[in-house]
């Protein structure tokens, strides 16, 4: 590829950022509605997310679950299925990890830590695998199942945290706060910056991003997942067991979401409590989109979206506006970013026409026509 092409691709990559900025400019209207000074508000937003160590670590802490969920979403979408069940999968992952970590607290950390992570991942795998199986075997649409299973997971959590998993210390003290016992300190993920919540789960997430990239583009399994996603009929003719790969992509997707829950428990809260996730399942979908549904793209994308979420909270504190403003702004940002994709595609097409070297490549971003088909269901 020549320099011009690199430059063009760079612009494509920056387009979401530009779209985000335009969305915030449009958001000025909302700020006027509230009688707030937009400069003050937006300076707080950027300062809050990136202005100092505290902001940057908050952004990265938030980006960690977003990246893990986003990776799960990438796999599902590449496999041609939609996983709206991230929320429920995070919750069951966190529950299972906590149950295991607390239940087997006397195991040596070197064994307990991986097993705790695996429990979370396994719970997510099951919670995502059920919709996968139901879709593959019985033709039950996965949007329906994942939406319903989110609700089931939340209610399961409500029950477990007030019953079987309630911290015995709290029961003894009579302060029935709905949270579990604390996990043994030996398996807490290391805090990377003191006096912040930023923990080593972020490293794990980045490594997993590489692993997911490798899986999807360098292994037969990944190739088949993508093939099924691109064209299930052709895949069937090619002898790929489509049902199996549909189940697999939803299960793997759930596994990564479950892992996100386990990492939140081990890295941030050190116990299971209400309000552990609260929307990461959806935010992760957005982060995956910002990364063009590519595992490596998801790394900067989750940091970007994490920064937006953290900055919006800071803005709310700084100018004292209802928290709803931050939510509305996020909505605008998503709408603008998702729309900006059209320009990337138009430009890609023109480029293909220009130098004839286009066509789908294996590498990152560009959403070429064919790939678009695959992810069109999103």
């Amino acid at each position: 590829m020549n320099t011009r092409l690199y430059l063009a691709k760079l612009i494509d990559l920056l387009l979401p950022v530009l779209a985000m900025v335009i969305a915030l400019v449009v958001g000025v209207l909302l700020l006027f509605l509230l009688g707030t000074d937009p400069f003050e508000a937006y300076s707080a937003l950027i300062r809050g997310a990136l202005g100092n160590i505290s902001g940057i670590t908050q952004t990265l802490t938030k980006a960690t679950p977003l990246l893990l969920v986003g990776l799960g979403i990438c796999i599902a979408f590449r496999g041609g299925v939609i996983n709206i069940g991230g929320e429920g999968q995070i919750v069951v992952g966190a529950l299972a990890a906590t149950a295991f970590g607390v239940g087997f607290g006397n195991l040596p950390a070197l064994i307990l830590l991986p097993l705790t992570l695996i429990s979370g991942a396994a719970a997510g795998l099951i919670w995502g695998g059920i919709p996968g199986l139901l879709k593959a075997r019985l033709g039950v649409n996965e949007i329906l199942t994942t939406v319903m299973m989110n609700q089931i997971a939340l209610r399961l959590m409500n029950f477990l945290l007030r019953g079987p998993m309630l911290d015995p210390e709290h029961v003894a003290a009579g302060t029935s706060i709905p949270q579990s016992a604390t996990l043994p300190e030996s398996i807490w993920l290391t805090r990377l910056v003191p006096r912040t919540l930023f923990h080593s789960g972020a490293i794990l997430a980045v490594l997993l991003a590489l692993a997911v990239y490798f899986l999807l583009w360098r292994t037969t399994i990944g190739y088949r997942i993508r093939a099924v996603g691109l064209n299930p009929h052709a895949s069937r003719y090619a002898g790929i067991p489509v049902a199996k790969y549909v189940t697999l992509s939803l299960a793997l997707s759930g596994m990564l979401c479950g892992l996100a829950g386990a990492v939140e428990v081990l890295g941030v809260h050190h116990r299971m409590l209400e309000g552990l996730s609260g929307g990461y399942g959806f935010s992760g979908i957005v982060a995956a989109l910002f990364g063009k549904l590519h595992p490596l793209g998801a790394i900067p994308a989750s940091a970007l979206f994490g920064a937006l979420l953290v900055g919006a909270d800071k803005m709310q504190r700084a100018v004292q506006v209802p928290s709803a403003l931050a939510i509305a702004l996020q909505g605008l940002v998503v709408l603008f970013v998702v729309s900006s994709d059209l320009y990337v595609r138009r430009r890609t097409r023109r480029r293909v026409g220009d130098d004839g070297s286009g066509g789908p490549d294996n590498g990152p971003p560009a959403a070429e026509g064919e790939k678009r088909e695959a992810i069109a269901e999103v």
Partner: protein
């Protein structure tokens, strides 16, 4: 205690609850059916509902007639539908994700407007129970079906109306054609984007009325995020109904029936743990669909944006 559940009056009560509870789901799911039949998935239903709920409430709160409230909601719903159409039809964005954007936007904006324009939770006098003369006197059935507020009736009237529009009108034919094969429809001179704009506006209007049915029909109050994710369930029910109006009706009724049942089970102190009871509607919806699902052809172009070949 369990035998209390099977008394005639309880059974009537359960079915009465079921019919009423299904109202918002019906409006929203029927609206979503229009969009999906033309090939557009809109996950933002919940956000539109909240906007509809707020504006209907605000109109009534300001002293306007209840039907003005409904009309205001419809207008807002159409605008939200237009926004969704612009983003996912004109800008050809990934439909699922733009729906999430729309949801967040509606959730945030409705709460923001509520805080700015009203500021505290207030009640209004909404649609009253309207027993239909004669019909409501039928023993049992009369109370179940004909003793509700006007918006409940409207929701059920919308079922045959939607069926008729989709299956028996030119617009319906175009909708189905566009959803099935946009290229062919285009060749025949149907404006693919025009049809999709139309269905999304219809869907937006119905979702907004679903919201209004909560804020000025069933609860007579507005609270931030009062739909509590109801719109997502409504989208799921479209899949339950395999994109057919009758199926959507069935899904809404089933989901509401189990919900009504679990509320009654709890209220009658039947020894079922409430933790299990509150999960039942979601579990049953999945289980029933698992047993009845057949591989029904979905609109072939669902969630694919259409761009004319150049």
């Amino acid at each position: 205690m369990i035998d209390e559940l099977f008394t005639i009056s309880t059974l009537i009560g359960i079915l009465h609850s079921c019919v009423r509870l299904a109202t918002p789901y019906l409006f929203a799911s029927l609206g979503e059916t229009f969009g999906q039949r033309s090939g557009v998935l809109n996950l933002g239903v919940d956000g539109i509902m909240l906007m509809g709920a707020f504006f209907a409430f605000y109109a009534v709160f300001e002293g306007h007639n209840l039907w003005v409230g409904v009309l205001v909601a419809i207008a807002v719903g159409i605008l939200m539908g237009l926004l969704k159409a612009f983003v996912s039809v004109t800008m050809q964005s990934l439909q699922g994700i733009s729906g999430i954007g729309l949801y967040l936007f509606g959730l945030g904006l409705s709460s923001l407007l509520f805080k700015t324009l009203i500021g505290s939770v207030e009640g209004v006098s909404g649609f009253r129970q309207l027993a239909i003369p004669l019909l409501s006197d039928i023993p049992g059935l009369g109370h179940i079906l004909f003793n509700h507020n006007a918006l409940v009736y409207l929701a059920y009237i919308m079922v045959p109306v939607s069926w008729f529009v989709i299956n028996r009108t030119t617009l319906g034919l175009k909708i189905r054609a566009v959803g099935h094969n946009p290229e062919a429809a285009d060749t025949l001179g149907v404006s693919v984007n025009g049809v999709r704009y139309t269905t999304l506006m219809i869907g937006g209007a119905l979702a907004a009325v679903a919201g209004a049915s909560l804020s000025i029909g069933l609860q007579n109050v507005f609270q931030e995020n009062m739909t509590n994710g109801l719109g997502f369930i409504a989208v799921a029910l479209v899949y339950f109904g395999s994109w057919r109006t009758v199926g959507v009706l069935g899904g809404s009724l089933l989901f509401s029936l189990v919900n009504a049942l679990q509320l009654w089970v709890q209220a009658l102190d039947i020894p079922v743990p409430s933790e299990v009871a509150v999960m039942m509607p979601y579990i049953m919806t999945i289980v029933v669909l698992a047993f009845t699902a057949r591989q029904i052809q979905k609109p072939a172009a669902l969630a694919r944006s259409y761009e004319r070949g150049e």
